[in-house]
């Protein structure tokens, strides 16, 4: 199943050898199969400890293979290494390309056109609306969305993608055996069953740490053809992803926000600093990436009652509190509550924390 060269990298990773050392070996060794050969021991001493060398050279290769692949088989993980034929081209040329990608799900997605959607872990209603709108429209245009499965914008994007019948790639900061955050475990399963993909640079049982999150972001950006930043605070992880995007030469798309909102301080700053990233519609993204936009669907408002139509109209200007809606329409609380329920069930509006309501896009 795996070539000897691929196995070599997997065996190095299996022993928790640092990324830098693996890189050194991969870039300095012509034929990776040779690290299993005893006669190369002296050469290998430049990079590895005696114990590590023994692991590679003393055991028969079938045994090494069995050990290294046992965890992967247990979780249904497929590994793509830097030495593999199907290692994504887009990652080959970035700074610090990942040596291994552990995958669960539809591996073919790596070859498709993808848009990264990232943002703050504590978005405002506006941020969530933006993430949902763009994700749904990008899916409609035939793109795959990719994100980090964190709380907030990442999860919003994944959910919206699934709801629109699209495919999502989630890049995780730890091993694929135990999804972090655990709240999003169900979501991760849905992503796989709907034809999506889970990706990680880390083998099973490796727990996420602070640096693995930043490292993961370079892969989100690296795999994407373009990166959409929805909401970001002033000094945030999201901004670091945007920086990777620029360094990797990908297209950056940033959505502006409320100048009073701390969650838009970062995005507004990016728009100011980086030329041509200002984005307010999916059309702009498709244009920059030279993708044909599909025909937009007609949404019929015919089924709505009079009260429902009034509410929809009110909400087009932004979200509103229950009491404000009741006041503006001048209707009693129970009538408003019933109508809002109906609109929510129909999927026309969203209910947010604090009894606020917003239009669904």
């Amino acid at each position: 199943m795996y070539t000897k060269s691929e196995l070599a990298i997997l065996a190095l990773d299996y022993q928790d050898i640092s990324y830098k050392k693996i890189c050194d070996i991969v870039f300095n060794v012509q034929n990776l199969e040779e690290i299993f050969d005893k006669k190369n021991t002296q050469f290998l001493q430049n990079y590895l400890s005696q114990k590590e060398i023994s692991f590679l050279t003393e055991m028969p290769i079938e045994q090494i293979e069995k050990l290294v692949l046992s965890d992967l088989d247990k979780f249904g993980i497929v590994a793509v290494t830097f030495a593999s034929n199907d290692y994504p081209l887009c990652l080959k040329n970035i700074d610090d390309p990942p040596m291994v990608l552990y995958l669960i799900g539809n591996v073919n997605l790596l070859a498709k056109q993808k848009i990264g959607v990232v943002g703050t872990r504590k978005p405002t209603t506006y941020g969530k609306d933006v993430a949902r709108k763009f994700s749904a429209e990008l899916v409609e245009a035939g793109l795959v969305t990719i994100s980090g499965l964190s709380y907030g914008i990442d999860a919003c994007c994944a959910e919206a993608t699934l709801n629109a019948g699209g495919k999502h790639i989630a890049v995780l900061a730890g091993g694929l055996d135990n999804i972090y955050p655990c709240q999003n475990q169900d979501l991760s399963k849905q992503i796989v069953t709907s034809g999506g993909l889970l990706v990680s640079e880390y083998r099973p049982f490796v727990r996420p740490k602070q640096y693995t999150f930043i490292a993961r972001n370079r892969i989100v950006s690296g795999l994407s053809d373009g990166l959409l930043v929805v909401e970001a605070g002033k000094q945030s992880g999201t901004k670091s992803t945007a920086n990777f995007c620029i360094n990797q030469g990908r297209e950056l798309f940033v959505v502006p926000g409320n100048i009073f909102s701390p969650q838009s301080a970062g995005t507004n700053e990016l728009i100011n600093e980086i030329p041509d990233c200002f984005t307010i519609s999916t059309e702009q993204i498709l244009n920059r990436l030279n993708i044909e936009p599909k025909q937009s669907k007609q949404t019929s408002n015919a089924q709505l009652s009079l009260l429902g139509q009034q509410i929809i109209e009110l909400l087009t200007c932004g979200d509103m509190h229950f009491d404000q809606i009741a006041e503006q329409i001048n209707a009693p609380a129970n009538a408003v509550a019933s109508e809002l329920s109906m609109l929510e069930i129909m999927g026309a509006i969203h209910k947010e924390a604090g009894n606020y309501y917003s239009l669904a896009h």
Binding site: R121, K122, Y151, P181, Q183, P262, H321, F322, D323, A326, A333, N334, A335, A337, S338, E339, L340, S341, M342, E344, I345, G347, E352, A353, G354, N355, Y356
Partner: protein, 507 residues
């Protein structure tokens, strides 16, 4: 000589007769109490001794044995002091034994011979009356409480010497007059007219009270959750006399009854602090006293900032919420106290209170928020039928001189809805829509086709549980009752859906 005098003890809320026997024999002065007396009963020796002496009577200088029968139950509390004193006086022939034994005596004695009030007079009198006892001597301070039982003769006397005069016939005492009970129309601690805006919450509260549904208010601090909770007693249906007696029994036993009033005249509103222990909330402890849940029986239990309560305490609420009673176990046995209350709970969206707010930033980490929300367990959430979000009222709304509906107006509608439920459930132990059995739900919550479809769509969209489904039916039934409609239609179902509780706590 041997004397036998009657007194009464309490086991939970039920009284049982205690026979105080005193035997005086030749021998060196001694005083022994048998019959499993607890510490305070054992101490009665000193109180009785001084009380008799200071009432200018003789304390026999012989061997005195006091037996509190039946011998196998523990006797607790100082309420038998008076009976013991009378029995000693009867045994030493200082009063006419045949006359003394006509009454049941209750009271603690002071060293000066005064008779001090005791707890639980009402439940004792009720139990004793059931068993056929009709003549009682009780402390004067308990007169009010005792005055609400008809058909018995109660003499409320303040000193031991007066009791002696009463028994010996040297002074005449009249039995206390019965008081007519009336409801107190004090509209709770706050009036709804003082709450500006918050129409959604007020409406939700009106529905909750009408159908007896437990309700959870979620929102940042300072949004008026506590104030609204304090308005609730003002719109609860009026107490009936039977309910008042039930509640008074509990309050009397717990020692929180207002002696001036002697009886409960409006529904209780209890709001225990979140440092309350299990025992304080549920009941128990050394004296097996009723806890907050029982003190809230027939009224409202308000848990402000529910996630702040200890997990074990919140879990302990399951039984009372499910069964309407609490079982308090002790080594000697178990007592059951009623605990049928309406639960009003409030919570912040996160530890700092600002999550989801428009203007303020939340400073909590996701982990903190998750931990905080997890404290409200699934099974407890399950028993809360209505959840409503509360947010800050804009300053403009606060200043505006709009007239808001008063509690009195809201109460009229609540009463009407409650009346419908009274008729509907007549003859069954169920009193409100919230407590409907599945049989009753099937019978009274039939839906038309449109409502069925809507409910099914909501069930799928919001990923409800079966329990969530029945909760919506119950709340819809109450909403229809408030409109005076016999049949539930789609607008009732839709409104009920808007108050749906979260099945699983999510961010």
């Amino acid at each position: 000589m041997l004397a036998k005098i009657d007194s009464y003890g309490l086991s939970g809320l039920v009284g049982y007769k205690i026979e105080v026997e005193v035997d005086i024999n030749q021998g060196l002065p001694a005083y022994d109490v048998v019959g499993l007396p607890d510490a305070s009963v054992k101490e009665s020796k000193e109180r009785v001794h001084s009380a008799i002496k200071n009432s200018l009577m003789q304390f026999p200088k012989h061997k005195i044995i006091v037996n509190l029968a039946p011998a196998n139950t523990k006797k607790e509390g100082p309420a038998f002091d008076l009976a013991i004193a009378i029995s000693i006086l009867a045994a030493s022939e200082q009063i006419k034994s045949s006359q003394a034994s006509k009454y049941v005596y209750l009271g603690e004695l002071g060293l000066d011979g005064s008779i001090k009030p005791v707890r639980g007079i009402l439940p004792i009198l009720i139990s004793a009356k059931e068993k056929g006892y009709t003549n009682f001597v009780v402390p004067a301070a308990n007169e009010k409480e005792a005055s609400y039982i008809t058909g018995i003769n109660v003499y409320a006397i303040s000193t031991l010497s007066d009791v002696v005069k009463f028994i010996n016939g040297t002074e005449k005492f009249e039995p206390i007059k019965n008081n007519v009970w009336s409801v107190d129309h004090v509209y709770g601690y706050e009036d709804f007219s003082r709450v500006k805006g918050q129409h959604a919450v007020k409406r939700a509260m009106e529905i909750a009270v009408s159908g007896g549904h437990n309700i959870l208010m979620a929102g940042p601090p300072g949004t008026g959750k506590t104030m609204i909770a304090r308005c609730v007693p003002g719109i609860l249906p009026d107490l009936t006399f039977d309910e008042a007696l039930e509640i008074t029994k509990i309050h009397s036993v717990a020692g929180v009854l207002d002696a001036e009033k002697g009886v409960v005249t409006s529904r209780p509103f209890r709001s225990p602090h979140h440092t309350a222990t299990n025992v304080a909330l549920i009941g128990g402890g050394k004296d097996a006293k009723p806890g907050e849940v029982s003190l809230a029986h027939g009224g409202v239990l308000f848990l402000d900032e529910m996630p702040e309560y200890a997990r074990s305490v919140v879990e302990a609420l399951r039984q009372p919420l499910e069964d309407g009673v609490v079982t308090v176990s002790r080594a000697a046995g178990t007592y059951q106290y009623p605990a049928n209350f309406m639960l009003v709970a409030s919570m912040n969206p996160c530890p700092c209170g600002n999550y989801g707010s428009k203007d303020l930033t939340c400073t909590c980490s996701m982990n903190q928020i998750s931990k905080y929300l997890k404290k409200i367990s699934g099974p407890l959430l399950d028993r809360i039928d209505i959840k409503v979000d509360v947010d800050r009222v804009k300053f403009i709304d606060l200043k505006e001189e709009t007239t808001e509906e008063s509690s009195e107006q809201i109460k009229k509608r609540v009463d009407a809805a409650r009346k419908i439920q009274q008729q509907r459930f007549a003859g069954t132990p169920v009193r409100s829509n919230a407590k409907m059995t599945s049989e009753q739900i099937k019978k009274y919550c039939k839906l038309d086709e449109q409502s069925e479809q809507i409910l099914k769509a909501a069930f799928d969209k919001f990923k409800m549980s079966a329990r969530g489904y029945t909760r919506i039916l119950k709340v819809a039934r109450t909403i229809a009752d408030l409109e005076g409609e016999e049949n539930i239609c789609s607008r009732h179902v839709l409104e009920a859906i808007s108050y749906r509780n979260i099945d699983k706590v999510q961010i």
